[in-house]
C-alpha cells in the first residue's frame, strides 16, 4: 500500500502512531534509511521538523533561505581563542540539507577509509565500501559535469591553477538535465538536482512509508535499555513554535537529525557518552574572490563544476568551484555608501572559488537554551596554521589567471593587488576577523569500536541500547576532507541494509 506525506501541524486531534521503524529527520541519511527499509517491507514513519517546500527553486534566494534553511542561515559555531567563528548552514525542510547542496558527490577518499580501518572499523575498507557507493551513485544519478558547463569564473581559476602546474578535475554531481543556472543552494527550478526528496523519498512513499512534516522530536522513549519509540511536539504552523505533543511507538528508532541535533536528542533521552557532541568536524571553508577587467558573470554555469585536489592528501586542502548570489558577493565588499557602491559595480567582473580544510574535528556541540544547540570550535594549531597558507595559494592562482585584484575573506580588508598581497599580514590576522563558513557539520556521534571513544558501533547501533540507531552525518568517525553527502547516504544505506538483515 502506498504511504503518505502529511503536515502534522494541520492534523486534528492526537498524533499517536505505531510502526516498525521510526526515522527522525528526512535529510541525506534519514531519507536513504527510510527508503531502504520501506522497500524491504518494513512499516516506516519519518518525522521531519521542517516543512515540505518543493517549489523552493522558483523562489528568490532569500525567500528560499527563509523557508528551507535553518536559523535563516545565521547559525554560528563560536570560535574559541584565535579560531574563526564559523557560519554553519543546514537545511530545515523535507529532504534536509540535501535540498541545499551544490550537488557535489565525492566518495570517501581511500586514505580516510584506511584510517578508519586502522582505528578498528575493519568492515569499512575501500573494497567493501565500493558496492555501497556504486548503489547510491546509481540511485542519485551521479554524473560528471562536462567542461562546457563550467562558469567563466571556474574556467579562469582553472587557467591560473594550470599556470601553477596543476589541473582542475571535473566535479561529479547528482544531477539530471542541469542547465547551469548556478543557484543550486537555493533549490533547482528545473528539478535537475536529485536531492533525496526527489531521488529517495518518492520511493519510500511508494513502498508505504508515512512522512510527517512539522514534527519536532524531543527524545527517544525506552523500556529499560530498549528503545520503544520517540516523543516530541508538533509545531504550530504559523509560529513554528512547539505546540501539541505527539508520540510514535516503534520496534526500532533511527536518529538522523544531523550532527548538530542528534546529541541534543540523545542527551534529552537520558543517554550520555564521553565523546557525545565532541569531535565536531566542520570542513572550514573560505572564499577568495578575483576581480577581472572583463565580465565574468560567474553565475552562468553549473554552480560547482570542478575541483582541485593537488593539496588534499598531504595538506588537507581542497579547492571547490562555487558561486554565491550576487548579493552575498556585495556583502563581502568592504565599506558602505559610495565606497561600497563602487566595488559593487564590479560584481559581474568577479570570479569566486572556495578552499576547504580537512580539519582535525575539534568542534563541539553543547546543550543550549531552548531547542537550538550551542556550537564551539577551537581550531587545532595545525588547522589554524593552514588558513593563511590556503588563502595565499588561492590568491596566487587568481593572480596567475590575470585577476587585477583579489578580495580576501578578512572582514573590512580592502582589495589586494599582487604587490600589496606580498605585504598583507595574513598570518597575523586574528581568527575573529576571518570570514569562514561550513556546510558540513559531521561527527558528533562517532562510529567506533570502543564505547569510551564512540557513540555507535559499526552497524550504527547506539552503545548500551537495543533498537536505537544513528544514520546521518553525525556518525562519521573522522573529518572527510571532501563534501559529505555521498558518504552520508552510503553509510546510511549500509546501516539500513544491515538493519533489514537483522529481521523484524
Amino acid at each position: 500500500m502506498a504511504g503518505s506525506l502529511q503536515s502534522a501541524s494541520r492534523l486534528d486531534g492526537e498524533l499517536k502512531l505505531d510502526c516498525d521503524v521510526v526515522v527522525v529527520g528526512s535529510g541525506a541519511g534519514g531519507a536513504v534509511i527510510a527508503t531502504t527499509l520501506a522497500e524491504a517491507g518494513y512499516d516506516v514513519v519519518v518525522l521531519e521538523e521542517g516543512p515540505h517546500v518543493p517549489y523552493t527553486g522558483e523562489l528568490r534566494p532569500t525567500e528560499s533561505v527563509r523557508h528551507t534553511w535553518r536559523d535563516g542561515a545565521v547559525t554560528l559555531a563560536i570560535g574559541l581563542g584565535d579560531s574563526p567563528s564559523i557560519n554553519v548552514t543546514a537545511g530545515r525542510c523535507l529532504g534536509g540539507s540535501s535540498t541545499l547542496t551544490g550537488g557535489v558527490c565525492f566518495r570517501i577518499p581511500e586514505h580516510v577509509l584506511d584510517g578508519w580501518v586502522h582505528a578498528g572499523l575493519s568492515e569499512l575498507t575501500p573494497e567493501k565500501m565500493a558496492p555501497w557507493f556504486d548503489q547510491v551513485e546509481q540511485d542519485v544519478h551521479v554524473e560528471e559535469v562536462p567542461v562546457d558547463m563550467r562558469s567563466r569564473g571556474t574556467q579562469l581559476f582553472g587557467e591560473g591553477y594550470a599556470k601553477l602546474g596543476a589541473e582542475l578535475k571535473p566535479m561529479r554531481r547528482n544531477t539530471r538535465g542541469c542547465n547551469g543556472c548556478g543557484r543550486c543552494n537555493f533549490g533547482c527550478a528545473h528539478k535537475a538536482k536529485l536531492s533525496v526528496d526527489i531521488a529517495y523519498l518518492p520511493r519510500a512513499v511508494a513502498a508505504g512509508a508515512r512522512l510527517y512534516t512539522g514534527c519536532l522530536v524531543g527524545k527517544v522513549e525506552f523500556a529499560g535499555t530498549r528503545a520503544t519509540g520517540v516523543s516530541g511536539r508538533i509545531l504550530d504552523f504559523d509560529s513554528q513554535r512547539p505546540a501539541r505533543a505527539f508520540s510514535v511507538r516503534a520496534k526500532r528508532v533511527v536518529l538522523a537529525a544531523g550532527a548538530m541535533f542528534n546529541p541534543l536528542i540523545l542527551w534529552k533521552s537520558g543517554l550520555d557518552f564521553p565523546v557525545l557532541g565532541r569531535h565536531l568536524s566542520l570542513h572550514p571553508s573560505f572564499r577568495v574572490i578575483g576581480r577581472f577587467d572583463t565580465p565574468v558573470r560567474g553565475w552562468e554555469g553549473a554552480m560547482q563544476s570542478a575541483y582541485g585536489d593537488r593539496y588534499e592528501r598531504d595538506e588537507g586542502m581542497l579547492f571547490n568551484s562555487v558561486f554565491v548570489p550576487n548579493g552575498v558577493l556585495a556583502a563581502t565588499m568592504p565599506g558602505f555608501g559610495n565606497n561600497h557602491a563602487k566595488l559593487c559595480e564590479q560584481i559581474d567582473h568577479l570570479g569566486i572559488f572556495g578552499g576547504m580544510l580537512h580539519d582535525d574535528a575539534t568542534g563541539r556541540v553543547r546543550r543550549g537554551f531552548g531547542r537550538e544547540p550551542i556550537m564551539t570550535y577551537r581550531s587545532s594549531p595545525r588547522d589554524r596554521g593552514r588558513i593563511p597558507v590556503l588563502l595565499r595559494r588561492m590568491a596566487d592562482i587568481w593572480f596567475a589567471a590575470g585577476a587585477k585584484e583579489i578580495f580576501l575573506p578578512v572582514f573590512g580588508a580592502p582589495a589586494q593587488t599582487p604587490d600589496s598581497m606580498k605585504h598583507f599580514p595574513l598570518e597575523q590576522v586574528h581568527g575573529r576577523k576571518l570570514e569562514c563558513s561550513s556546510q558540513h557539520p559531521l561527527g558528533t556521534c562517532q562510529m567506533g569500536v570502543d564505547p569510551q571513544r564512540s557513540v555507535v558501533d559499526d552497524h550504527g547501533r547506539v552503545w548500551g541500547t537495543q533498537g536505537l540507531y544513528v544514520g546521518c552525518g553525525s556518525v562519521m568517525p573522522s573529518s572527510l576532507g571532501v563534501n559529505p553527502q555521498l558518504a552520508i547516504m552510503t553509510m546510511a544505506l549500509r546501516t539500513a541494509t544491515l538493519m533489514a538483515a537483522e529481521g523484524k
Binding site: T62, V65, Q138, C181, H190, R203, G301, G327, G337, H340
Partner: protein, 164 residues
C-alpha cells in the same frame, strides 16, 4: 507520437514512473503562514542602515526600493526560525546604537545625516565589532540584489548557461 516527458517530471532514477512527492495544499504551504512581524522600529532601524549602505554616487537610493527592502527584511525575520530573528535584531541594535559612537555622536544611527552614518558604519566595520555588522549587511545586500531594478543597474540579471 509519445508525449515528450519533461525531465523535471520524472521520478527517481531507475524508478522514473514513480510520482514525485505532491506539492503541499494551500493550507500547508509555508508561504501562507500567518506572521507576527517584528515591531515597526526594527523596520525603521533597518531602513536607516540601508539608506547609508546603498547611498551611491552621493545620491540617495530609490525610496520605494528601500521601503520594499526594509519590509522584506522584516518578512525574512518573521519567517526564519531558530535564532535568526534574535541575531539579526542584535546586529541591528549594535548598528543603531554602537556605530554612532565611532563618530562620537551618542544618538541613534537614523538621526545622523547619511554621510555621517556611512562614516560611522565604515569605522565600525573595521573595528573588532565589525563581524556584528555583517549579519544585517549581508541580509540587506542579498535582498537588495534580488530587486529587478538593482539587477538591471548592476548587470546581474539571473540567467542560465543553457536554455531549459
Amino acid at each position: 507520437m509519445p508525449t515528450p516527458v519533461h525531465l523535471s517530471n520524472l521520478g527517481p532514477p531507475g524508478r522514473e514512473h514513480l510520482r514525485l512527492l505532491p506539492p503541499p495544499s494551500l493550507a500547508d504551504d509555508a508561504r501562507h503562514r500567518k506572521l507576527t512581524l517584528p515591531p515597526a522600529r526594527v523596520q525603521r532601524a533597518a531602513r536607516a542602515v540601508a539608506e547609508a549602505l546603498f547611498h551611491a554616487d552621493d545620491k540617495p537610493a530609490d525610496p520605494a526600493r528601500l521601503d520594499w527592502l526594509a519590509a522584506d527584511l522584516l518578512d525574512f525575520m518573521a519567517r526564519a526560525t531558530g535564532r535568526a530573528q534574535l541575531i539579526l535584531r542584535a546586529s541591528l541594535w549594535a548598528l543603531t546604537w554602537l556605530a554612532p559612537l565611532f563618530v562620537f555622536t551618542p544618538l541613534p544611527l537614523g538621526w545622523l545625516p547619511v554621510g555621517k552614518r556611512v562614516l560611522a558604519l565604515e569605522r565600525m566595520e573595521l573595528s573588532p565589532l565589525g563581524p556584528a555588522a555583517l549579519a544585517v549587511k549581508a541580509m540587506l545586500c542579498m535582498i537588495w540584489f534580488e530587486h529587478p531594478d538593482t539587477q538591471r543597474e548592476t548587470r546581474t540579471e539571473t540567467s542560465c548557461l543553457r536554455e531549459p
